[in-house]
Symmetry: D2
Amino acid sequence: MKNTFGNQLQVTLFGESHSAGIGVVIDGLAPGIAVDEDYIRAQLKKRRPAGKISTARKEQDEYTIQCGVFNGYTTGTPLCITIPNTAQHSKDYSETRAIARPGHADYTAYCKYHGFEDYRGGGHFSGRLTAALVVAGAILIPALEKKGIKIGTHIRRCAGIDDRGFESYTEDFETLYGSEFPALSQEAADRMVKAIEGAAEEGDSVGGILETAILGVPAGVGEPWFDSVESMLSHAMFSIPAVKGVSFGDGFALADLKGSQANDPFKMDDQAIVTVKNSNGGINGGITNGMPILMQAVIKPTPSIFKEQSTIDFIQKEDAQLQLNGRHDPCILHRACVVADSVCAIVIADLLTQRFGTDYLGEER
Amino acid sequence: MKNTFGNQLQVTLFGESHSAGIGVVIDGLAPGIAVDEDYIRAQLKKRRPAGKISTARKEQDEYTIQCGVFNGYTTGTPLCITIPNTAQHSKDYSETRAIARPGHADYTAYCKYHGFEDYRGGGHFSGRLTAALVVAGAILIPALEKKGIKIGTHIRRCAGIDDRGFESYTEDFETLYGSEFPALSQEAADRMVKAIEGAAEEGDSVGGILETAILGVPAGVGEPWFDSVESMLSHAMFSIPAVKGVSFGDGFALADLKGSQANDPFKMDDQAIVTVKNSNGGINGGITNGMPILMQAVIKPTPSIFKEQSTIDFIQKEDAQLQLNGRHDPCILHRACVVADSVCAIVIADLLTQRFGTDYLGEER
Amino acid sequence: MKNTFGNQLQVTLFGESHSAGIGVVIDGLAPGIAVDEDYIRAQLKKRRPAGKISTARKEQDEYTIQCGVFNGYTTGTPLCITIPNTAQHSKDYSETRAIARPGHADYTAYCKYHGFEDYRGGGHFSGRLTAALVVAGAILIPALEKKGIKIGTHIRRCAGIDDRGFESYTEDFETLYGSEFPALSQEAADRMVKAIEGAAEEGDSVGGILETAILGVPAGVGEPWFDSVESMLSHAMFSIPAVKGVSFGDGFALADLKGSQANDPFKMDDQAIVTVKNSNGGINGGITNGMPILMQAVIKPTPSIFKEQSTIDFIQKEDAQLQLNGRHDPCILHRACVVADSVCAIVIADLLTQRFGTDYLGEER
Amino acid sequence: MKNTFGNQLQVTLFGESHSAGIGVVIDGLAPGIAVDEDYIRAQLKKRRPAGKISTARKEQDEYTIQCGVFNGYTTGTPLCITIPNTAQHSKDYSETRAIARPGHADYTAYCKYHGFEDYRGGGHFSGRLTAALVVAGAILIPALEKKGIKIGTHIRRCAGIDDRGFESYTEDFETLYGSEFPALSQEAADRMVKAIEGAAEEGDSVGGILETAILGVPAGVGEPWFDSVESMLSHAMFSIPAVKGVSFGDGFALADLKGSQANDPFKMDDQAIVTVKNSNGGINGGITNGMPILMQAVIKPTPSIFKEQSTIDFIQKEDAQLQLNGRHDPCILHRACVVADSVCAIVIADLLTQRFGTDYLGEER
């Protein structure tokens, strides 16, 4: 399926950093989802670089709804949005095109596409394509919210500094939605930003861990075996550049627990079935149990750094040294939160559409 | 796609713990893959419970090749293997069927299947279905080896005890292939087994981390965005029961590195392009770079324990206490290694079939 | 997808004429579909050769439900049924394996599978695999009937003799369901049988046209463009061996009509919207309009004949003459009706599952 | 998959008649396919209405390559082309939006999309979207030709008048490629045009049959059962609006043949294996046999006619009369030929990519 994700609700990404435009097709959308363009713009803004700790590329993210929206609602036929690439640097990429940037896809793209790839600015591998994921999320998130489903992501860890965990999801989400640097503890956020600035001064970059909570998904969604909720979420999350690990619930800490510690006992809470804790991240046997879905994703430090690096010229097949110029993000975690939210919205919307049919997420007329 | 995985090479699982049989259909296989039944049996034996630290269920794993093999080679048409369920306990499951075992899928299956699910012995969620994955792997692994691709998994961590990392892949793989408890350090293995026995005596269980290396995959395999090698491998790995996290290269440790530490510099090694280290696990931008693919999977402790647990009766909707009897694995990591190898073989075989066409993995005639 | 059909409800076929067994996996079934084994047997019997105008191969069609049924209902997890091959002739196929039977897949299979194909009795291409389609249909048809959807197929034309068209669907379907030679006019049936017997005496075979009606599918099912109801039905129908054409409504006769003749005017019928005639076969723009879906499929004459035929030896690469022995069906139309019904049931069940969700076809508990 | 077709090479259509634009994403393209923009424009011109027998809508079919082409070659990443809708009539569609045009999708779209559909000018169902299919075909056809595969479609029958069949494919294709009204016999073409004009004068429309030949596909391509070449081609062909039947080889005439007439005897032709005739249309058992693939598609008469028609108002639920104004095509067969070529190119390119891998259709660098 390559650049398409989903079974019933399918999202197709396209574009290259310096092509005419990038974009997304969403097919299998319910008819009657209200499209809020202010919300789309607000979500795009969260992803857009801003402030001292972001790249200087001034992306405008103006977009065109090519089709699939009529009178403010989705039509139920494919929705395509294109975003023109207007901010491309005019510099000549051809000179350095064969000097593989470590941690980037220059060399692997060359192996796969035999030199036909568009190598300008990362081409199809550019993080810019996440704007198209955000657009898709911005269509789906409001529809999910009408069904009582909310998604929020915070920077769980950055540059070795921990944020606190979720306490009150509802309040915490409000904090995150309003923040340019979505951490739950302001004190942790301040220290993270300071560490990022420190790394930037050294010409280096930092990584970290995002944690996403998804609330309100009813029990009984997902599939055993290959299309478990974990399988689908991780499949989609690993499409975000720089994600190198995805875990659920207590994640890798489960390795050191005993069964008596890792199991989440059930109990009755009034008439509802809940678990007393959530080490399994709301998923048992690949299927939701009604508790919050809790997921972590490790984001490796941005590979674009300003220290000299050893590498190769993959066309000349000889060793080479690389010194990057320009400006690049020393950290992308704060910009990646809205991307993670969007990716999760795509997965959950697909699972619900499979479960409840193609009309589920739309309004009635 | 539910119980089917893969784009060009598709694996479909079926079965329930106490149904007539379980099995697998593999479609899209190249014609001309030699089928080695001794190898299939040997691989199944690795997964089968054995020794003090395993359940007493005596599974025979006799299997029938229903179709798809002729004169010792795959035909290129669907290969189906069924494994009869002969060792089912005859006990009555109906009495306790609504007492949700914490950490298991009893309750989530009920929510999804509305009570029509086969609840005996875990039903469709039973780890027994991994035998079908192993069979699929046992068809594919020899075909991959003929292409120079080898897969090996060790118990990287168990009950808080670390194995050493891979040093010499080729020698280390031999150690793992011949071991009933696949750790690289015998001393670590001994300590792990002791810890497992200790947990078992307390009626408890332990978890850990598997690490898999895949050697020999050429550079340029995989897709950007949704079908990255990480996306495909994690999708498949999360189908293994108890896996709650999957990571690549340095995994979650990447969170605390700087870009200058996380990037893998390239260099020429004679005429070959290699990286000087492998923090990215052989994958850049979702595509293989020719280095070993390195993956970790956290396995939560087996949820079946013998300590009394608080839970609910999900039909009566009331609190309940649960005391499991019988025998259950206090640890499944050693049995899961061959399952991880098999799952990886499925993914890699699919990626190569997409890349090089449907005949690639077969022999010529 | 090769041997798998369907988006949400997926049917996977496997087997070869002389392998251990053939079978089918149905995944994405709703939980709670009542499974009627008498009905499965009755449907299989309709497909089984019988009487003077059928092959002498005595197929028993005993089957095993491997999984997916519990207490008489589908569980919602994959349902697999295997049918052992017990009636294989023991004759040696290897001697004549390279003499391509005209109209059969011997040569094309050799080109595709490079000689690894199981060539005995047609191998994977054997019409015997349609028994697995009939089993899948026998699970689905009763579930569809509970939703008010009925499917019936008659022999519209055979050996140049026309059956009458549908008049009263409900009564006509009863006639067809009870018939060993499903034509609506007994007089036409008698003449067709006589023509078949005449062709058989000459060592020849006949073809014809099947016509299927599907009643009760609500308006608004299907997709524009690639997954139109016509696309999905024809895709599935062309998987039936010998089908070489599929059409809807007035079919190829539409070529000679004018727009004013081909359009089906709408009218109100009490509170219901209907069309006054059905030249479009119940489908407009790829989507059902609530009228009966009407489909025709041309079945070429059985390629196994007893006249000497010119052909080649595709291994020796030389001209050859072929004289078939044994017994073969001079006509398969009467046996193909239940296969067409089954295939249509698979398609419609998939479309409804997409539209209304995974629980739609099951009963509530 | 809805608006996406293909397994390894996937084509996704989007757009509505009066939305900002329509377009197509092609994913899974080989890197290194030369993109000839003159050819794209020439192909689009063939589809565009022209002359007396076509609608007056002046479509410009200017397009934008959003991405996927670099330095004149495909990159191997998704190729997206958008075509702006600039010629929309500004008339108010809302007044008549509930008056179902017989033979069109107005009512079925309403049933499916509950009134959220874009009803202007046929919306997503507009024949205008076939321009996106033509664009996809115009990328693929030259790549196929470099592999020795040629595709041509003629108007086999129109308004009751027969064209001659193919005689010399190579010469006949040249005739068709250069013609505005692609029939092989000029005399037949003249009579057809006259008949179309006659129907147009009466305010009526005509239908007919297209016949497509595909040359040069090697033997051994396609799949048995569900993904037979017939299944894939018919699936795609039925996505063309107005197609109501698809057949292969002798098509529905096979109903009246005997086996001895329908079978195509093989013979050696120098070192090549051929058949002496081609009643099976180049396909045996769903797989190509190396002979030309021969396919027919019946096109129903254009449903837009100027005679008053009886219909309903599907919102008011009452009978209504309909009198169409404006101008509409009295015949679309000549414009549909290039669409059929394009659709076949998509199917064949997908089959070859599956068979020979993702690089097959590209050039080497």
